[in-house]
């Protein structure tokens, strides 16, 4: 009896169902492709997952707080371009990298201020910055990619003891954000305002400050993601990160975070990001058209959210 109960409880955990999906895809691939289980391939999947996962950590906090950040893809591009251009023009790597990170942070703050001060719905506010940031990246470069190298290239493409540096960065950040979300006061307040903003505010949680924080953090991580992605390619393309918001939001939702806020875990987000990367890998290994990949991504999101709705509907009855 206890065992059955435990399995049921596990089934209710969204992380568990995504983990099952992840395992199913992995098992299938290990039979379908000889190359899949090669360490080189697995580490590549990890590397591909890392940028999506890092940006998804910030996005997860935003969504848990009942917001959404659509601008992350463009912020990735703008941060990379700012870093590369400043690095080229000043000759200083530090100036470039710091400016790249600050660009991400600034974009996040702008989103947060638009939401908290000007009361613009975050969906619309970040849709606006999505376009503005992309346009600025194109203006700064005239649409032509800028070479990018040095330390960022090490983070984006390098390895320590055979393991991609970006994967290590992701693991460290995931652990830190997990502890932040579950063990700190601010972390618990983020869940509270997502669950019932009015109640949390009346109970003394500073709504504006908490919202500003999650958007700023999301922007900062998008900036970091931009540096890693450009470093990996050794080039900052103004179109870098286009469409990334889809992968990032998909990873968050797949990982069991409720779009309606208040519910979600960092562990789930990482599993979600891994699943997205694994699906990408599957299409490459199986030699299926990349166009099908686009279709499938959309279907996976609809499936995951639909599953969640059905499960929750059953709970509410």
């Amino acid at each position: 009896m206890g065992g059955v109960e435990a399995i049921r409880a596990l089934g209710r955990q969204r992380e568990a169902s995504v983990l099952v999906m992840l395992a199913a895809v992995a098992i299938y691939l290990s039979f379908a492709s000889d190359y899949f289980l090669e360490p080189r391939n697995l580490l590549n999947v990890g590397r591909q997952a890392s940028v999506v996962a890092i940006v998804a950590l910030g996005q997860a906090l935003v969504i848990i707080a009942r917001g959404i950040d659509l601008s992350v893809g463009s912020v990735i591009g703008l941060s990379a371009v700012v870093a590369a251009v400043l690095m080229r023009d000043t000759g200083s790597e530090t100036v470039g990298l710091v400016a790249g990170l600050l660009t991400g942070l600034a974009c996040g703050l702008v989103n947060g201020v638009l939401y908290t001060r000007f009361r613009i719905n975050p969906f619309i506010a970040t849709l606006g910055t999505l376009s503005v940031a992309r346009g600025m990246a194109l203006l700064m470069t005239g649409g032509i990619p800028v070479t990018f190298g040095g330390f960022a290239e090490f983070v984006g493409a390098g390895r320590i003891a055979g393991i991609p540096v970006s994967l290590l960065v992701m693991i460290v950040l995931a652990v830190a954000v997990h502890i932040f979300a579950s063990q700190t006061v601010r972390g618990r307040e983020i869940y509270a305002i997502g669950d019932n903003p009015k109640a949390a505010s009346l109970a003394g949680v500073n709504l504006k400050r908490t919202r500003l924080f999650v958007f700023a953090f999301s922007g900062f991580l998008a900036g970091l993601g931009g540096l890693i992605l450009a470093g990996n390619l050794a080039s900052a393309d103004p179109n870098l990160g286009m469409g990334y918001e889809l992968d990032v939001i998909a990873a968050v939702i797949l990982g069991g975070t409720a779009l309606s806020g208040g519910r979600g875990s960092i562990v789930g987000v990482i599993i979600g990001a891994l699943l997205m990367a694994l699906l990408n890998n599957a299409f490459v290994l199986l030699g299926i058209s990349a166009y099908w990949q686009v279709v499938t991504k959309g279907l996976v999101i609809i499936f995951a959210v639909g599953l969640d709705g059905l499960q929750r509907g059953a709970e509410e009855d």
């Binding site: 601010r186 618990r188 509270a192 109640a199 949390a200 009346l202 109970a203 504006k208 208040g262």
Partner: protein, 514 residues
Amino acid sequence: MPSDVISPVGHSTVGSLLRAPFISARGIAKSFGGNHVLRSVDIDLYPGEVVGLLGENGAGKSTLMQILSGGLQADAGSIEMHGKPICFLSVAEGIAAGVSFVHQELSVIGALSVAENLHLGRMPKTKLGFVDGSAMRTAAGRILARVGASNIDPLREAGTLRAGEQQLVEIARAAARDPSLLILDEPTSSLTPHEVEGFTAYVREARNRGAAIVFITHRLEEALALCDRIVVLRNGSIVSEGPARETSREQIVTDMTGKPAIYEHRPRHIPATEIALKLENVSDGRHLHEVDLEVRKGEIFGLFGLVGAGRTELLDLIHGVRKLKSGEIKLFGEKHVVRDPSVSVRSGVVIVPEGRKTAGILPLHSVRDNASISSLRRFSRSPFKNSSREKQRMEEFRASLGIRMASDDQRISTLSGGNQQKVIFARALMANPRLLLLDEPTHGVDVGAKVDLYSIIAREAEHGLTVVMASSEVPEILALCDRVAVLSKGRLAGVLSRNEMTEDHILTMAFREH
């Protein structure tokens, strides 16, 4: 249901002499998730009779009426109409059979005109198939006049009407159907005395036409004046039933609560003369104008007013939800400047808000997380939360407030309403407040929890906590408060001390600006 059952009572002859019940219900039972709301209720409703259905919040009044009108289906029991068994599966079937239910919550459609609201679903059409506006307007005027609301323009957008006027439109909507059974759930709560007169006249007219009428209200005087028979429900059972002229207000209160002492004031001694809260000429520029108040330390200070009088707005102002336009708030002699409730909570002002679901609970969170959310930053000086302190404080409050739960890890939404409200009290008290603001603190909780909450409030005040309590229930104010401020349309109508407080006095003041 076959339509031959639907034979509305003849309008002309029956009067109040027909002694066969219109509706007769036997053994009606209903439970929601293991919570028994109705336990085997028998009730007969006769044509030409006004029945006052009284009881505490949660006694089962609305549920019983929902079942009779088709909004809910009973778990057990049978209903007969004119001696034939019936079973409504929807409100529409009930309406077709002559049962109309005017709900307490207003449901007029704000963007439509009054006339359109009155004809929803059955608008008259011209030959070309367009809506016949003039026919609709004339009919609307006629119906409104019947319920004593001839001053309402049928062409006005319903959303621009006062709450009381909207209520009259709802009553008119039901009246237009000439129902055989008319159920009115707290119809008078937002009406002015003048409107009440018109409404009463309509109820008498409908009774004389032979309609059976059920009148749910919290205003006992009104029930005694208007009703032929009084039925009292408590915890899902009928506890007393009889002609209105043979009972009394005191008897009804005792029947409703099961405890003669529930609304009895226990005299208290307030030793401190220190002023805890002082409002000087406070306005918010919209809902409140020039309010002056002084609340002493350890006092339970009541705020009474009709809907829209500004009770909630005044609490919001003190709590920092709403901005002060002019005037000053002083807390223990110091100027209390709040831009945000978070500042207010940190300075020791906490609130138990109105609307447990919308503004109280964090539904996805555990009981412990719900209780500790206001105190997280006090429990821990570092950025990390202090779980052991949270657990310990939760256990203290579980014991002292009598919160019934299996574990403090269970979701708050799995608790009963009364227990949820106790958790919200625990949240407020855990933050070590100097001033406790309560907004309708016992709305929608059962009688047992209500008694508990009253003693919690009294006990905290006894320990020196200052309490400001807004309530729309006069008996609650009378039972708990040392003084009461009555608001009327955003202005202070007056402050009554303990020996000046009577229900009549309070209500008269509340209507002053109307």
